[in-house]
């Protein structure tokens, strides 16, 4: 008995966090990520519910728990976590720290678990088959259907939602894919969230676009602050892309630099770091070999879709887009000390022009489905990460997109 208690005590000191971010809660996510890093080696991230012992929902400020996430999502994920487990919600940057502390306390005080395995989830196959009611059910789950694949063979088709709780995935985004083997045959981007969940509190601006939107509203914003935000936004995108590509070291480096930029590090500190990271990323021939050729989006096609920002400037494949981020982050890092006021011109955020008819991320999402069709699952993840649409920008849109 004594041994058991001792083991439990050791186990309770380790926290593997499954973070679910609601659209509009980017600032909270960043606070949580920084908080987890500050708490040291006993804290880490879980890639799936099974790997986690703590569920943390980052909700937007002013939202109820879960906010713009589909209502049932936190509850469903919670059921998938094995015992002993803890959950918390942070609905604002200042709540991130207390929420993390409460997770640690709950795990330390927890009663552990009684024998018998968790009911567990439906797995990820529990999607309704597109064929509807005539699909055969096994244990309440539909069997895969058949369909012609790209080589004209009849193979199983599996309908699977990608998101909303995947590591390094845009907050709240769900892409429904039809898979044959691990090849995506068809992809559809779901409207961001259920009708009940929209709209969020009106005054919240998309985090990454904030300086430019504020300036456009007539507030005085310094150029340095805008550079800082742009630099951090690109480093955030880069960190995710490298995370999906499976290069944890540089991905972590990008996130640290991002946090340093947001914390107000001067250009003299920030710039060398970003430069070193850019060189490291550019020099990796393996990375180039792995990402080259995925999701080509030539300039003409990008313009036609209304894509702007780095994705348009890259005018190429996922690798070109990946390289734009450290390059542009470096340029922004050089200007973070500027105290001049942001000039009164057209607002251009990290993902493109903000005064157009539609937010830049909408165009990025529209570009997704044709690029995903025919891609392998791993490639599809890289393509999504290389465009990195920001769901925060979509919250203000009137009619959800089909």
């Amino acid at each position: 008995m004594g041994l058991r208690t001792a083991l439990r005590r050791i186990a309770a000191t380790r926290v593997a966090v499954l973070l679910v971010t609601a659209p509009g809660a980017t600032a909270v996510r960043l606070a949580v990520e920084a908080g987890v890093r500050r708490r040291g080696p006993a804290w880490g991230w879980a890639e799936s519910p099974a790997a986690a012992n703590a569920l943390l929902v980052a909700a937007g400020p002013g939202h109820q728990a879960g906010g713009t996430l589909p209502d049932s999502l936190p509850g469903r994920l919670w059921d998938l976590l094995p015992h002993p487990k803890a959950r918390a919600t942070a609905a604002g940057e200042d709540e991130a720290g207390p929420a993390l502390d409460s997770l640690a306390e709950a795990l330390a005080a927890g009663p552990g678990w009684r024998s018998g395995s968790a009911p567990g989830g439906p797995g990820r196959q529990a999607r309704k088959g597109a064929g509807g009611q005539d699909t055969e059910l096994v244990a309440g789950l539909p069997m895969a259907e058949r369909g012609d694949d790209r080589d004209g063979l009849r193979l199983d088709v599996l309908h699977l939602p990608l998101g909303p709780a995947l590591p390094d995935w845009p907050a709240g985004l769900v892409v429904d894919v039809a898979l044959q083997g691990d090849v995506v045959q068809e992809a559809r981007v779901r409207p961001l969230s259920g009708p009940g969940a929209l709209p969020p509190s009106g005054d919240a601006l998309p985090y990454w676009d904030e300086p430019w939107l504020r300036a456009a509203h007539g507030e005085s914003v310094s150029e340095g602050a805008a550079h800082r935000r742009r630099c951090a936004a690109h480093l955030d995108s880069l960190g995710r892309m490298l995370g999906v590509a499976g290069w944890p070291g540089p991905a972590d480096r990008a996130r640290r630099l991002r946090d340093a930029a947001l914390r107000g590090a001067p250009a003299g500190v920030l710039l060398p770091g970003v430069q070193a990271l850019r060189r490291r990323v550019e020099r990796s021939r393996t990375l180039r070999g792995l990402v080259r050729g995925l999701g080509p989006l030539p300039a003409a096609r990008a313009r036609e879709l209304g894509v702007d920002g780095p994705a348009l400037a890259a005018a190429g494949d996922a690798y070109d887009r990946l390289l734009r981020w450290p390059t542009e982050a470096e340029r922004s890092a050089a200007g973070v000390d500027s105290t001049a006021l942001l000039a009164d011109r057209r607002p251009v955020g990290p993902r493109g022009r903000l005064d157009g008819p539609r937010p830049p991320s909408r165009a990025l999402l529209d570009a997704l489905p044709p690029l995903l069709a025919g891609a392998e699952l791993a490639a599809a993840r890289l393509i999504v990460a290389s465009l990195d649409p920001d769901p925060d920008e979509l919250l203000g849109e009137e009619a959800p997109h089909g």
Binding site: R4, L7, R8, A11, T13, R14, R37, G40, P41, A42, E47, S48, A50, A51, N53, L80, P82, P84, G112, W113, S117, A118, P119, G120, G121, P122, G123, R124, Q125, A126, V138, A139, G140, L141, L158, L160, L166, P167, L179, G181, D182, G243, V244, A245, G246, W247, P248, G249, D252, R253, S284, T286, G289, L290, E376, L377, A378, A379, R381, L382
Partner: protein, 309 residues
């Protein structure tokens, strides 16, 4: 012919392999935290604490899962590692030294293919299944060059017995005149352990792949098992290419430990240098570059061996 180790080595071998794997995992944790500031060395105990966490965690099941099939797969991972390590001489004496030791090692690593595939199949979950399938593709990609690399070492010694391969390196280590085969074996050690640059079957992009749905002791056995496989793969490079226990001054067993640690260190470095490779891209490199290179290496070795007669 080197004689085999005493019977108690059968008990010690799995423990030694666990310690080696744990130290390697600890070193990896330290290395990962190294750019995070002071106190990184304290992370050396992280893998053990994580093991405790998983040990007391609830095992979890998914709907319509083939749990026991999955668990057989998971259990096979450490079993394959220990069985593969049985032919590795610690010092100059292995636990067992069969006449076909090199083939035995190869067969045990192929056992890991079945293991990971079953672990991915078991939970009835798409990401997990994708992870399992990825390992089969990975097997196809890395195994052919690896087999040729192993063959090259056996060719140089004119024997499939690991003891004979070590004995043949008394003068000159095989790594000196078989550098390609050695490099391919290093890559393969990471690949057969689905670890580091070859961790795609457990990839972050599919939420942990074959490991995505496993929790508690199941997860512990799977994740610890891959470190055991890595340790076994690294340890096998020593008798094959690095002269086994041969070396000046130090006793043979210590040389084995030092050399194994060096190989593991090289692998840890590799992990931090290179992103995770996808098999749809790596296959081309493996078959169009590595296979011809290893064939050429085997040819050179064969000519040298014939010339010596």
């Amino acid at each position: 012919m080197a004689e085999t180790a005493p019977l108690w080595a059968v008990v010690v071998l799995p423990l030694a392999l666990v310690v080696l794997a744990g130290v390697a995992a600890g070193a990896d944790a330290v290395l990962s935290a190294a750019h995070g500031g002071a106190g990184a060395w304290r992370r050396a105990a992280d893998p053990w604490r994580e093991a405790v966490r998983l040990l007391v965690q609830q095992p979890r099941r998914t709907r319509a899962a083939d749990r026991w099939l999955g668990r057989i797969g998971i259990g096979l991972v450490p079993v394959a590692a220990v069985l593969a390590a049985a032919v590795v001489p610690w010092g100059l004496r292995p636990v067992t030294d069969p006449a076909v030791g090199v083939v035995w090692f190869n067969a045990m690593e192929a056992l890991a293919w079945a293991a990971v595939w079953l672990a991915g199949w078991g939970p009835n979950s798409a990401f997990s299944l994708v992870g399992g399938y990825r390992f089969l593709a990975q097997g196809l990609a890395y195994e052919l060059p690896h087999m040729l690399a192993l063959t090259t070492a056996a060719l140089g010694a004119e024997s499939l017995r690991v003891g004979a391969v070590v004995a043949a390196q008394r003068g000159l280590w095989f790594v000196v005149w078989m550098p390609v085969a050695f490099a391919v074996h290093l890559l393969s050690a990471a690949a057969l352990a689905f670890w580091g640059p070859f961790a795609h079957p457990l990839g972050r992009d599919v939420a942990g792949g074959a490991a995505a749905e496993w929790s508690g002791p199941d997860r512990l056995v799977l994740l610890a098992g891959r470190w055991l496989l890595l340790a076994a793969g690294a340890a096998f490079a020593v008798p094959l290419f690095l002269g086994g226990g041969h070396g000046p001054l130090l006793p043979a067993w210590l040389w084995t430990v030092v050399k194994t640690a060096a190989v593991l260190a090289a692998l840890l470095g590799l992990r931090h240098l290179v992103p995770t490779v996808r098999m749809d891209r790596y296959m081309e490199v493996a078959w169009l570059v590595l296979v011809p290179l290893t064939l050429l290496q085997a040819l050179v070795v064969a000519v040298v061996v014939l010339g010596r007669r």
